[in-house]
Symmetry: C2
Subunit: 209 residues, 2 copies
């Protein structure tokens, strides 16, 4: 049952891209797509597409391809996106605000339902219908909304504390936007998104070439 027979994490990222293309194709009335179609739209190879899908089952018809809508539904199910997920954001700064307004989350079923901050001046503010609460309210809100996912949008100096608080409140999947290595127990899922490091990859490549 458990999915722990080793699926590359890169595969999961690609499934996300495939699903967007499939939704688009379905919306355009394209009933059947081939691995080549998917590959060209998402910038990977056809073999990669088939391999990725094969981890989860046989979704296609040989000689034909895949049914856009069906494959879309399968992938969304695989990704756990056949339902909506409430999300907590820690940090009511500019990044926290932008995340609350970001439409790309709602499109995929992520519902940022509260923001938390220690700054008394920010408590009660609203970012696109999302209210800012004091950190002390985290545990209760997590329970009430059954929140499993959290986003760290505080400076590096407070990131570990933010993570600790989320874990204490029983959040078990965390995205960390702070440029620091946050340490968590191994049963907690943690992903780091380092915005500056993305630009640094570009400057590294542009330098002296």
């Amino acid at each position: 049952m458990s999915k722990k027979f080793k699926i590359p994490s890169a595969t999961i990222g690609r499934l996300s891209m495939y699903s967007r293309y499939l939704k688009d194709a379905d919306n355009k009335g394209i009933v059947t797509v081939s691995s080549r179609n998917i590959a060209e739209a998402t910038g990977v190879t056809p073999a990669q597409v088939r391999k990725d899908l094969a981890y989860f089952g046989e979704f296609g018809t040989r000689g034909v391809g895949y049914n856009s809508r069906e494959l879309y539904n399968y992938i969304m199910k695989i990704l756990g996106l056949d339902r909506s997920w409430p999300v907590a954001v820690i940090g009511a700064g500019n990044l926290g605000r932008a995340l609350c307004h970001y439409k790309g989350f709602a499109e995929r079923g992520f519902n940022i339902c509260c923001v938390f901050d220690n700054d008394p001046n920010k408590i009660g503010e609203k970012f696109a219908d999302v209210e800012v609460f004091p950190m002390s309210a985290l545990e209760e809100k997590v329970k009430v909304h059954n929140i499993k996912l959290g986003i760290i949008a505080v400076p590096a100096s407070s990131a570990q504390e933010a993570a600790d608080n989320m874990i204490k409140a029983r959040i078990n999947g965390i995205i960390n936007f702070a440029p620091i290595n946050v340490i968590v127990n191994e049963n907690i899922l943690l992903r780091r998104v380092d915005l500056a490091a993305q630009l640094e990859y570009l400057t590294y490549s542009l330098e002296d070439n």
Copy 2:
């Protein structure tokens, strides 16, 4: 001279983490650090740290370790961060605004110097000293500020156009925040940052485990 004797892109991301730790260590007066110190602070293995550094030279002293400040300077040089980089943002929505306010860029030498948007209502607005210009001004601003880096912060439907415009203006390193595969000529550096996909990796892992 060219760095094209294959350095893993993951190495570049780790160098970024190492450099932050080294700066911190240096600020705390720690003169010498070992690969183990760096590894523990950044969540990798000591062997990985040494291997990463070995791609670029011999920076340490056997039996001792690395000089924090020197290694920091070496890495910043490798990453091209021994100078400041002007950056253009396309899209004056919430994401564009947040990126302009994000302090993590300035800390690493990235200076967002203008934002571009087609919405007449937004032209002339200011996001933390960064002025919003019409898209038509892109080419001139790129020339004046010698901008090499751009960030796509528009919806998926306009992302390809934004990329094309940047390339026409001679920007050659692009970060794409839109959840779509933008196609560019192979001499253009492109990195995709998919915020929703990060959360999706978590939901995938939380599902059914």
